[in-house]
């Protein structure tokens, strides 16, 4: 005998407006059916009617936890289509900003994940405090807190401000200490380990068949990270190493993300040290009409949540068609398979460990 319960669209831990139809037999989840589309606003249609740079805010609002990553992916697609080179300094500055954004995103995930497990907001508060510090540093580069709109074709709107390097190094040292603190706090807690270990198991073959991406895929033992397999920007030069584990459960996903924060800290540090001189400024928003070099361009980027693919069919002034393959969409589509047969409490641990953002699922 199973009971059908309706979780969401407004529920404390569905990370936005996700609706789950769950069949429960006792404490066991028989089946989960995610219903999405409650945030669908037709981004892909809207961007077909705007000039290239007018689309920047739309792209940033796809994933509102890591807006800068999407802006960068979109700008790269346009650069690819119009045949614009990125300046040498801008390459490094973008790497720094992308990795800072990744740290901020993973910190938010950490806080929310702990909350999903029933932590009474403690890790949430700590992680948000540190995320705020990262955001404040990024605010210096553009003047905006969340939606920077600072990417320009061929570079950025502003170069890094004076003294940014020192403040960034200071913050990174602080963050390193904090990450250690979180790991100590959580991993020495046997209840936390018990909640995460062996939950939401996903082995290598199933992970590939279900098409999950990003940290979830890497936690299942698949060595695929766009930053190392199709290197872009300064990742190759800085010796980026993907974080791969083979556990495949929630604890492994947690581990991969925590290690990614540490790897990001290292990359930012080395990128700051190797920052070339020169200008990082890109073209102004109202650039002259360009000849389209590539009608169809495909750009792949490693977002905090996984692999994003921008499929751009270009017109001279505006996109003819822009498809966004969003990582959360891929991960959420696997939820019903991963969560089948788990306990009710584990459902939320699994959902938390997938790290979804509904804005980019629904688009």
């Amino acid at each position: 005998m199973s009971t059908r319960i309706n979780i969401g669209p407004v529920h404390p831990s569905t990370h936005g407006v996700l609706r789950l139809l769950v069949d429960i037999d006792g404490d066991r989840v028989e089946s989960v059916e995610p219903h999405v589309g409650l945030l669908h606003r037709g981004v892909e249609k809207l961007v077909e009617n705007r000039a290239y740079m007018q689309n920047m805010p739309y792209m940033e609002k796809l994933d509102y936890v890591a807006p800068l990553s999407y802006a960068e992916a979109y700008v790269s697609a346009v650069e690819h289509a119009l045949g614009i080179e990125v300046k040498a300094r801008a390459v490094y500055v973008r790497t720094v900003l992308l990795e800072l954004q990744r740290i901020a995103s993973h910190l938010l995930w950490l806080g929310v994940m702990a909350n999903d497990l029933g932590q009474f907001y403690t890790v949430f508060m700590w992680a948000f405090r540190d995320r705020d510090k990262v955001l404040r540093l990024m605010e210096e580069t553009s003047g905006a807190r969340m939606f920077h709109v600072s990417m320009r074709l061929g570079g950025l709107q502003h170069d890094l401000p004076k003294g940014f390097e020192d403040r960034c190094h200071e913050l990174l040292t602080y963050l390193e200490k904090q990450v250690d603190k979180y790991r100590n706090f959580l991993e020495k807690n046997s209840v936390f380990v018990e909640r995460m270990q062996g939950v939401g198991l996903l082995d290598k073959e199933r992970a590939i068949a279900l098409g999950v991406t990003g940290p979830v895929l890497r936690a299942s033992g698949v060595n695929y990270d766009v930053r190392s397999n199709n290197p872009y920007y300064a990742y190759d030069a800085l010796g980026f190493e993907p974080q791969v584990r083979s556990g495949g459960d929630c604890l492994t996903r947690y581990d991969v993300r925590m290690m990614e924060i540490e790897e990001s800290i290292r990359i930012v540090r080395e990128a700051l040290n190797a920052l070339p001189e020169g200008s990082a400024l890109g073209m102004p928003i109202r650039f002259a009409l360009q000849a389209v070099q590539e009608r169809v361009s495909v750009v792949k980027r490693e977002m905090p949540r996984g692999e994003c693919m921008m499929y751009l069919v270009a017109d001279p002034q505006q996109p003819y068609r822009l498809h966004v393959r969003s990582p959360s969409f891929a991960n959420l589509s696997a939820l019903s398979e991963i969560a089948k047969g788990c306990k009710t409490a584990d459902l939320f641990a699994i959902l938390g460990s997938l790290d979804i953002v509904m804005g980019e699922v629904d688009r």
Binding site: T3, I5, N6, H11, P12, S13, I24, G26, D27, A114, N115, D116, L117, G118, Q119, F120, Y121, T122, M125, W126, R129, F185, L186, N189, V191, F192, E194, R195, K343, T344, A345, D346, L347, F348
Partner: protein, 331 residues
């Protein structure tokens, strides 16, 4: 009835009328004490949790935010009341007041000092624990009566929890009573004149504390109220005025649990220099603060995790405690 100070005597009443008057006066005193304790505890909880989380907590309403909870309280009772359409009205409305009444009654029959007590039953401790184990059952009934599926799941959970912690709790209780050679509360306290039971049986204390946390439904055993899974569990459809009762009940239960731990393991009202009741309240307050700190730092357990923990750790440990205590000092 041994009050030390008889209100009826002062007013020259005697016979049955005097007895009743004395009881009512004592009940009023206890109620006032519980309200004061609960209020202070709720304020301390918000402050302590906030400090652990790197915040300040309430500080704008009243000095150090001391009036914050008063504002919350008045606001909640002045809000609109509503009943879910498919709730069993009588059960749904009666459950929470009954639980509150039970908690208050148990505090009422616990003695606060040798002179300040309503009764000293020879089976006092047994009585307390029998009545205390009604609470999850009332949560169960209330959850089912609210006609909400989340509340129904929460109701099932409360009963499953009862299965996993009640046994170790009672085994430790039996050990303590055997060591004290008495089931009466004052007997247990008097047995700790030389050394507290916490020193004699540290394992028993740890087991009892953990089992008490789940008896009270406090984190990490707040599965029946888990806000990240079941919205608010059995409280999902409870309207705002009733929610004041729930908050009151929550802190009253914490007070009750802390009192029991203080009486059973921390030597009750025994102490130097200060009056006995002050010692008892200080000790139970310390236990309450410890519970708050556990709440702020722990992660909620799973249901089957609790059952496994209860049967594979708590129960063997409580039996071990029983054996060691038997060999060392009960015999």
């Amino acid at each position: 009835m041994g009050f030390g100070y008889s209100f009826a005597g002062a007013m020259l009443l005697n016979g049955v009328v005097g007895e009743v008057f004395d009881t009512v006066a004592y009940a009023m005193m206890v109620l006032a004490l519980v309200i004061a304790y609960d209020y202070l505890l709720s304020w301390v909880e918000r402050k302590v949790v906030a400090r652990i989380q790197g915040r300040y907590g309430p500080e704008q309403v009243g000095k150090y935010g001391i009036l914050q909870n008063l504002a919350d309280f008045i606001k909640l009772i002045s809000k609109e009341h509503s009943l879910p359409k498919n709730a069993d009205k009588a059960l749904f409305l009666l459950g929470i007041p009954i639980m509150l009444a039970i908690a208050l009654f148990l505090i009422f029959i616990l003695p606060f000092s040798p002179s300040l007590s309503s009764s000293d039953m020879s089976m006092g401790m047994l009585f307390v624990f029998v009545v205390l184990s009604f609470m999850p059952l009332i949560v169960f009934v209330n959850g089912f009566a609210s006609g909400n599926k989340f509340a129904a799941i929460s109701a099932q959970r409360s009963v499953v929890m009862l299965v996993s912690y009640e046994l170790p709790l009672l085994v430790v209780l039996a050990t303590v009573c055997a060591a004290a050679g008495s089931y009466s509360i004052s007997g247990i306290v008097n047995a700790q004149a030389n050394s507290w039971f916490m020193m004699l049986m540290p394992i028993g204390f740890a087991v009892f504390f953990v089992a008490m946390l789940s008896e009270l439904g406090r984190s990490p055993f707040d599965m029946s109220e888990s806000d990240s899974e079941l919205i608010a569990g059995w409280l999902t459809d409870v309207s705002a005025p009733y929610y004041t009762l729930v908050l009151f009940l929550d802190y009253t239960r914490t007070f009750l649990g802390s009192l029991l731990i203080a009486i059973l393991f921390l030597g009750g009202w025994q102490g130097q220099f200060l009056p006995p009741i002050v010692w008892l309240l200080l000790k139970s307050f310390a236990v309450s603060v410890l519970m708050i700190m556990v709440r702020a730092t722990s992660v909620r357990m799973r249901m089957e995790g609790l059952i496994r923990f209860g049967w594979l750790w708590l129960l063997p440990l409580s039996l071990l405690n029983l054996i060691i205590s038997y060999l060392l000092f009960i015999r």
